[in-house]
């Protein structure tokens, strides 16, 4: 079983990102469970989403406390909360950043991968530079880096889940997948 935790901010589409990922995984016949951490978060407040993946039914309905990997949708969160909380040793931290990931100074026991999802989103006119919609770009990279699904399943899942700008979102996911 693989357990992943997503960190984002309210309004960035973190929950939709986890749904797209779940759909892409399910299309390849695997079992998946995806859920957001619920509270009364407002736009801009830190939010979480969790995803479990297995090749057999998933019975554990509790929250994920020790993720195998974490995905940081919003790079400014790194200064605000400990995104590595409970992360297993050797786990992957996938961060949306245009910096060299080494500059983020995560402990050596984790593998850190930077993805310029904001750059990709802005290029494809998803949101604005101030408020880019990065979820499809992030998912594209995550699927490739963690080898969770093939590109066909990913793009189908993106197309089925985004409410608008289908072509732009699909192109962004594809570019992120190919660059990762």
């Amino acid at each position: 079983m693989i357990e992943i935790r997503f960190h984002g901010r309210g309004g960035q589409g973190t929950v939709v990102a986890s749904k797209i990922l779940a759909d892409a995984i399910a299309k390849e016949g695997n079992y998946v469970q995806a859920y957001p951490e619920f509270g009364v978060e407002r736009r801009g407040a830190p939010v979480f989403a969790f995803i479990r993946i297995d090749d057999k039914p998933i019975y554990d309905k509790s929250r994920i406390y020790k993720p195998d990997h974490v995905v940081v949708v919003d790079p400014t969160l790194v200064d605000v909360i400990d995104v590595t909380e409970g992360l297993k040793e050797g786990g992957m931290i996938i961060v949306n950043t245009d910096k060299n990931p080494e500059e983020l100074k995560f402990p050596d026991k984790y593998k850190v991968v930077g993805v310029n999802a904001t750059g990709i989103a802005v290029k494809h006119k998803l949101g604005t530079l101030a408020a880019p919609i990065v979820n499809t770009s992030v998912v594209g990279a995550v699927v490739k880096i963690l080898n969770l699904a093939n590109i066909k399943s990913l793009l189908e899942a993106v197309r089925e889940n985004v409410p608008m700008k289908h072509e732009e979102n699909t192109a962004a996911a594809k570019e992120a997948y190919e660059k990762a």
Binding site: K19, D23, Q33, Y35, Y59, K61
Partner: protein
Amino acid sequence: MKKVMMGNHALSFGGMLGRAQVIAAYPITPQTQVVELLSEMCADKTLDATFIKVESEHSAMAASIGASLAGARTFTATSAQGLALMHELLHWASGGRNPVVMGNINRAMAPGWSIWSDQNDSLSQRDTGWIQFYCSNNQEVLDTVIQAFKVSEKLMIPSMVILDAFTLSHTYEVVDLPDQKKVDEFLPPFRPEIKLTPDDPHAFGGLTSPEHYFELRYKLQKDMEKAPALIEKTGKEYEKMFGRYLGQVEEYRCDDADFIFITSGTVGSTARVAIDELREEGVKVGNLRIKVFRPFPFEKVRNIIKKAKKVAVVDRNISYGHHGIFYQEVKSAMFGHHNSLPIFGFIAGLGGRDVTPSTFREILGHVQKKDKSEEEIIWIGVKK
């Protein structure tokens, strides 16, 4: 066809595949995406049903009863405070023998205001004469709605299909959507013997003198007593067509178990993870998940747990001044049959407090320490 969906939408798709003809709902909190999707289905004609938007949950159930009386298959959904507001009409639906099927999302009752899970909302409706199904995954939610229509319409008793807030309602899982043609074959249209129609006028729910009222209640109970066998039969029929069995309980590794947990809802799913881990360590544990709370599966429970050395009932609910509600039922199932079996009562997870595999290790620790159960409640994870 497999589809990733949240528990709320599993209820909606259950209503759609069951070909509900009338859906009445109040669309504000604590209502959820259940009727949001159903209203879309009604609007785009995916579902040939009348959607009635009402001004309260009380009216939602009143409209559902009216529709059911007129011979329509009727579905609605609610949660917590909304269910409480329906209380009067819940009696009316069962007393009037209207087989409405309703989804209920188990949310903790306010105050303190909560959108997280526990079972006090639905268990407070225990004596309203509704059949209550508790689900542990989204597939089961969808399958149960379809089966509930069949059971309810056969007995002319309404059913509640119940799922945990967030842990199921907003959690995405892979659900196999059965083929509509096969569902139609399993669940033929609702054709009540008597219905409200201008062609053949009758009065319903009128003044009932002591000469007759008693018999109406006797008949309701007698028909409720038919539910256990009917739920088993319907479950087997469903399994034959769709490969999944419902039934009254789910027994997991109970055969040779020294310790048996008794659970319901998603708590009963997480229990399986703990059991597999403990079995690896050589501890003989099992889990009995109660799927149907009313009518309570006394015989099933008795037969499964009688060989165990100790039993731990895990309640995500409480009857203040007494104990966990499933605990009371299990005790009464064994009274006079196996009086010496130690049954321990635990309360966990109120108001959405997480129940994890380690919760069951903690429970087992308590049970292993004592030879006999004390009547006091054992609280798990409470900050005292």
